[in-house]
Amino acid sequence: MNRQTTHTNSVAHVSRVLCATLFVALASLAAVAQQASSNMGPAFQSGTPGTFAIRGAHIFPVSGPDIENGTVVISNGKIAAVGANVSVPAGAHVIDGRGLSVYPGMIDLGTSIGLIEITEQGATGWVDTQEVGELNPNAKAFYGINPHSSHVAVTRVNGVTTVLSSPLGGLVSGQSALINLLGSTAPEMAVERFAALVVNYPRTGFGGGFFAFQQQPQGADAATQRDRQLEQIRKQLRDADAYARAVDAANADPKLPRAERDVVLESLVPYVRGQKPVIFRADRDADIRGAVRFAEELKLKPIILGGNDSWKAAQFLKEHNVPVILTGVLDLPSREDDPYDVMYECASKLQQAGVQFAISTGDTASDVRTLPYHAGMAAAFGLPKAEALKAVTLYPAQIIGYGNQLGSLDVGKIGNVVVTDGDLLEARTNIRHLFINGREVPLVSKHTELYDAFKNRK
């Protein structure tokens, strides 16, 4: 009897919850439909275009000194003016910036946003990170990105406006897309559809633990396996180089035979010619150095992604002018006898050595919004605050080759702007206004919608 009652109660609760949710969801949908061109839920809106002026705010252009009381104008998708004595254009939507701060949107180069919704538990239908096989240079993240992934809005409302989304698997994982976190289609989001080639630098010695079950080769065998894998990558890149030269030669001289078109090799051409960067995932000192030497041998343009040990290789990286996307700031030290703060301090050591670096969460999707706290922790352990801010704005833009379009508040750059009520990197700070591609984006996501739906439930 008791049980019966209990069950009835639960059912009643559930239906009440459902009704309440539905009601709130419908109500908020209706409210938003009036303001926005999109008739989808607010988290899916593509934002409101227009001319915007944020007036009287503390401005952090990042590329230059702070402006304590200034104005930022956004127009036609771009940053139109930044300064203390900027006039507001007629017809601009004016935002009172008193007490607020203005920053460029943050950039995370270590993600797979759009390629993955949920990682585990039989939800593989929602995962597109990893192709079958070892060499997939023509697997392009751009074609796997789901613009309607819940991570897009969840991430941007925390001030991260641009990410590099990369495939993960095999030795050559594929090509990354540089995307703004706004748009109804992948082409609308893309800053650069094919921004980088991703290589998992082969490594030796998967020590114990889980990998011990898998009978990984050890010792000399492991080194042989690494060399064999490197040779696989080397061969493909050399083939691509030869292919590119054959195509050029045939184009220059019609009498020469034309190479059979090969889409795999074709996709590698900009990388073997050093026109676009090759990202090497590598964490250990030896692997970082190995990746740099490998890239130099093949005349590639390398970037290190991961870089847990990069502080050990800092001088080497500086000498070889190779940038690092550091993903491990909040990771545990990888060795028991490492100082407790070895990862917290890593960015500071790179900065002191003059290595070009950016800070990334290294998270596939759901935790990318925590990017500012990674930078903040680096600042708590030696990295100057201004450098920590650059490490998640201007530096990643420069490393991926878009320093002229992203990463700072400079006239002509893409209008990715974040307005806050405090320091951008502080966990307590709230985002007040958000602009991506010059569009004002509502500060809503799956999370705010669930919050609104349930916060007043009695």
Partner: protein
Amino acid sequence: MRKLFALLVSIATVVASFGGATASAQRRTPQRTQPAPTKPESGTPSAAEAPPTASAAGDLLIRNATILTASHGTLENSDILVRKGKIAAVGRNLSAGEGVKVVDASGKFVTPGIIDCHSHSAIDAINEGTLSVTSMVRIRDVMNPTDIDVYRALAGGVTAQNTLHGSANTIGGQNAVVKMKYGRPINEWFFGAPPGIKFALGENVKRSNNQNFIIVGQPQAPRRYPATRMGQEEVIRDALTRARNYKRDWDDYRAAQSRGDRNAIPPRRDLQLEALVEVLEGKRFVHAHSYRSDEMLMLMNIAEEFGFRIKTLQHVLEGYKIAPEIARHGAGASAFADFWGYKLEAYDAIPYDVAIMTRAGVVSTVNSDDAGRARRLNIEAAKMMKYGGLTEQEALRTVTLNAAIQLGIDNRTGSIDVGKDADLVIWNGHPLSVYSRVDQTYIEGELFFDREQDIKNRAALERERQELEKAEPNQAPSGAPAGAPQRGRRPGSQDDDDGDGGNN
């Protein structure tokens, strides 16, 4: 058979540590490498051996700090006097007395020690993943006092933790609420906290049946009941019913004894049910791993039916959907700050969870469930100001006083009040700022982490490391190429320079 048993345990551990409850709590073979704080024996210990302790009796005066009490607001330019490990006075211009160590904390901040309400640090085993009801196994039997993760957590201001089993089993085992007395014998870590037990619901329990999890070259694990949330309800109901019967048998026996019945036969002692009888009697707190609101309601209902209350819902990702029900039941809630989306049952997790539950009257905390996250619970707490607008003190309480209340230790720790243990953290800036770090961590007035000393110790540790690397067992075997991994080290040791972090 024995081998298969060992394998099952390994599989369960691997399974559990690859996601979910122990999302990234990868266990490693502990090796003592950081200096453990040991009491100086005689003479002066070398720097690498022992960070300085406070005066032996735990007497201490912290002077001129900004004190976030967690119970009664923030005190500027104030002092804390510690006598025999207890907070003796809080106020301005306190005097130390003879022989009491004085710490000048001008420009610094002091908070109560952080309490992590969900940890798997300092234990050598997480799941007894063979049966689904393992209420007889105890965390305290597998604790390792030199787990380096404990030292790292101390460096993030953590002074106490709720050490829990994993989530492979519906009823996991008996917890251990301890002070983080790194390097001391484990018995010294216990301080009389009420006992507890881990329950678990949802995907992780189901996953112990995952037929897709195949380890190459090893026999496949047999399936185990329960495989659904239906079975989980039934397993709990069955276990509690057996416990109730067991209690009745003992009650009957004791009644017969008191009547002078010399022929009464005592029931056979059952360690599994003994712990569950304590649950029924409200003497052992249930900390229940739970994600979805439906499974939480199920558990609270079944507890009410059996006449007890769930002490805390752990993770409680969808707690915000049923906050009034949780408040009415009287459970506490211990959540992640903003960790979400790592599996299907975490897809509706929102960072406003704690704020909604707090406003509904639920005592709520933010926990780590992860050795990495345990080092920055202050930042996890700070996020609660952003997501749902908790005040500074409310946010701080999610990792201090509220955790003490949930664990039944608020008479001892969790806030800066006279009479409580001097579990204190000195920060170089505001503790809720990302730019701040811990300078010193005290447990019962005794220094367990000191950043200055840690830095001083590094040169000695580096020398020790170099010495060890020269030792014969650590040399590469002849013929191995330079840079190849060297054999002869303990499997799973991270010292093989591979940076994997994995060893289960």
